[in-house]
């Protein structure tokens, strides 16, 4: 029996790295300090494993890899999609493959925080690492996100109850939630402002106007009484260190990247008064890694196309949902994600009409419809590699138990070799 310390959890953007995992006879038997999702992930990692498949028949991994390479080598306009739940090393291979087959490559951020990227490309991004929040933040605003359910240990490790260098704990922080409904995080907050769906932009704009000293001759903005907004603006100006964490409530509602840009510009304006920062709540444990690797290798963080032998950036043009919904691609490699479970029906169902390859440790809705399934070792459980936390801090994932399968990185290397040779 061995206890492995400082294990990094490969689930969400919190990338907690303080887990203690007990392994007995090659099996994980106990997980300490992780949240309930994390424990489940580790303890059940060996269940529901994918099997190597071609055309619905179980086969060898090598055969599945060969078929995958054959499909991709023949494709005229292929798509590689996903990336967020694997290592940076594997992501780099996926990009190499996309360049080789002159394909499109996109990550799950295109249905998540891509609009944050678009906003930051317009106005920039005023941010920090999570430790700066832990140590200094006396005002924490969760806008359009619900960490108690989606980023379970966020408040205990970074933003709520945790003690920091200048902050003694929960009592030194004011937590504000802005959301369309009273979520569990809202219930745990000091203040909850309920915004009407689709009206976040107006509230952000109103706050900016209030900061500039404008008087707003209205009773409410976006369903929020004007006095509450005035009070929030004053809190923001007078705190010592404020932060806005935000999620799909801003990025995927009416206004999208404009909502995020408004929030960033609000934070920018606040820096005239005090220290204020903003951070997107990245969902998957390595979607930030996908952003980073794509950016340093191609110049662009998602929606990249190599048809002309150089990287082109095209949100809306080369993003996965759009390529699939418009039926433009003729093959797809899905790596470390489950688009059939998450995409709009039109896009998801097209994956059944074209040759789709799914690379995944576990069975999923995508592996069920894929023509080729290649099982791999789960990153952070049976494969080492780098992952980037939601604040872009890179941590090296550990391997705690063996897997009979190759890592994503190794499978992609093998496919590249075969495509080059073909």
């Amino acid at each position: 029996m061995k206890k492995i310390e400082n294990v990094i959890c490969p689930f969400c953007g919190c990338l907690c790295d303080d887990l203690e995992v007990t392994v007995e006879d090659g099996e994980i038997t106990k997980v300490a300090r992780g949240c309930s999702i994390s424990r489940s992930l580790f303890l059940n990692h060996h269940k529901n494993l994918a099997k190597p498949m071609v055309d619905g028949e179980e086969t060898s991994v090598e055969r599945a890899i060969e078929e995958a390479a054959s499909i991709l080598a023949r494709a005229q306009f292929p798509l590689i999609y996903g990336l967020s739940s694997t290592t940076c090393e594997a992501q780099g291979r996926a990009i190499e493959l996309a360049e080789l087959i002159r394909g499109n490559i996109d990550s799950t951020s295109s249905v998540c925080h891509a609009n944050t990227t678009l906003a930051m490309q317009a106005v920039g991004e005023v941010s920090c690492t999570l430790g700066a929040v832990k140590n200094r933040a006396d005002l924490v605003i969760f806008w359009g996100c619900n960490p108690i359910e989606a980023h379970n240990r966020h408040l205990t490790r970074y933003s709520g109850t945790v003690k920091g260098r200048f902050i003694q704990g929960r009592k030194d922080r004011t937590i504000v939630v802005v959301d369309v409904r009273r979520t569990r995080t809202a219930k745990a907050a000091d203040l909850f402002l309920q915004v009407e769906p689709g009206r976040d932009y107006e509230c952000l704009a109103a706050l900016r106007a209030l900061l500039k000293g404008e008087e707003l001759d209205v009773r409410e903005v976006g369903g929020i009484p004007i006095e509450e907004l005035v009070s929030l603006a004053n809190r923001m100006k007078s705190c010592k260190f404020g932060i806005i964490f935000f999620g799909m409530g801003l990025t995927m509602t009416r206004g999208k990247h404009l909502n995020v840009a408004a929030a960033i510009m609000l934070v920018r304006d606040l820096n005239r008064f005090t220290k204020f920062l903003i951070m997107p709540m990245r969902g998957h444990f390595n979607v930030a890694g996908a952003d980073n690797v794509l950016t340093w290798q191609t110049g662009y963080p998602y929606a990249v196309n190599f048809s002309r032998d150089y990287p082109r950036y095209g949100p809306g043009e080369f993003t996965a949902v759009d390529l699939l919904a418009r039926r433009e691609v003729d093959a797809a490699l899905i790596l470390a994600s489950d688009p059939v479970a998450h995409f709009p029906r039109k896009a998801a169902s097209y994956l059944e009409e074209i040759p789709t390859i799914a690379i995944d440790p576990h069975r999923s809705m995508t592996t069920e419809i894929a023509r080729v399934v290649i099982p791999t070792a789960a990153a952070g459980i049976s494969a080492e590699g780098t992952a980037y936390r939601m604040d872009n801090i890179p941590i090296r994932l550990r391997k705690v138990v063996d897997s009979p399968y190759l890592s994503d990185e190794e499978v992609l290397e093998r496919i590249i070799e075969l495509v080059k040779g073909s």
């Binding site: 690492t129 430790g131 920018r268």
Partner: protein
Amino acid sequence: MLKIANGEVYDPINGINGERLDIWVEGSKVVAVGEGPPDRAPDEVLDASGAIVMPGGVDIHAHIAGSKVNVGRKMRPEDHRGDVVPRTEVTHSGVGYTVPSTFVTGYRYATMGYTTVMEAAVPPLGARHTHEELNDTPIIDKGCYPLMGNNYFVLKYIERGEQEKVRAFVSWLLRATKGYAIKIVNPGGTDSWKWGKNVESIDERVIDFEVTPRQVLVALAQAHKELGLPHSIHVHCNNLGVPGNYRTTLQTMEAVGDMRIHITHAQFNSYGGTSWADFHSEAPRIAEYVNAHENVTIDVGQVIFGEATTMTADGPWQYRLHQLTGNKWANSDVEMETGAGIVPYTFRKSNLVNAIQWAIGLELMLLVEDPWRVFLTTDHPNAGPFIFYPHIIKLLMDKDFRDEVFAGCPKRARKRTMLAEINREYSLYEIAIITRAGTAKALGLKDKGHLGVGADADIAIYPKDSDPERMFSCPRYVLKGGEVVVKDGRVVKSVQGKTIYVEPPREDWIERELREEFERYYTISFENYPVQDAYLPQSEVIRCE
């Protein structure tokens, strides 16, 4: 064995100034100069007739890899669209321009005949990121400078007067980050920026600490000396970009007495005046000090008219630049260690201040007499992209060309700088010093920057041309570690360069001191912090005594 035949060799470290000599290469090293090994014929001969032969370029300061560089890339798709680089049989595709993708960075340095580049500023918490990007930067050898001038532990130990802990921590941090040298940026200022403040003089107290920037400089210079590190402390002074900041620069150099110090992108810290209205050059004063003090080296940060992307660990300065320009602004405070800011900027020839800034960089290179102590950089991409080094070489070698460019600047600039009065023209020998021999020497890289027996076979062969810009833009051959990687300005082979890092004397005892507070204040566990060996697939260690 490979022979480079008949070239005019410029190897200042070995005193060779244009002599026609053959260079013999075997494996990854130079094995003979002049006469080859007896009784052996070369397997390959590179014809260098009509060409000059120099060691491969060594860039002492550029921002090419790491978190803030990548934020710059991500934030600026507009920078990339106009500068696309298609793949070839031997190279990956990518993009430029001011913040090129990593593959393109490596290829473009190589096609300029540069073979070693030092990444200028690394937040230790993000060191893994820097190494990942360096590993994806082909051909060149590289190193990186971890930031220390705003580090919690450094400030704390200085406050307590515990110099032995400063020294031990510096050693520990260099090892943990696989770094090459101590980097200091706006000492104390970036820490004050964590509360939105800055420091405005080297004697102003840093917020939360009874420590001044002066003390930070002295303590780290002292630690550097005690550890025997190959390169001096590498300093981005307080008050960068502020009119009148030349005084801060002089005080910074004076503060360390006769201990070694390198002032980086000195152009940005050579300003006179009290505002933008009376802004003028004080490069002569800075040059004077450098001339009189052998312990000081500088690199200039030469402005190139056109687009740039400013990116430094000087958080408060970057915010200020955003306020001055209204341009988009990215900021990242790094817990316990440092910060960063990124703001796009355009240097315009028609802008009086930009024209003076342009003149200042040249003044520094022309007024500092000892080419072994002044180096050619653009603080890429802050003052301009590195691909313009050949253009700067021409400005230094050709007074008429310099005058021609200056003539296109506002006339009023002539009263704010003495550039027009300087007639000096650099020789090829001196160019070799400020772009390779001198930088290698200042870095303490014994096998780089020269072509003597035992040197790394990193060699650039440039066809002689009356136009230095053309000459240095299109090498006939470039060798990296003995292999031909560039022919006629194009990459013909991509190789993996090494990451060079230092191993100062071990001071593991400091871990006991660090661990408790580390676990309390950081958000990553102590065990997961250091850069693992997996991130250095090819490396070279320099052990320090």
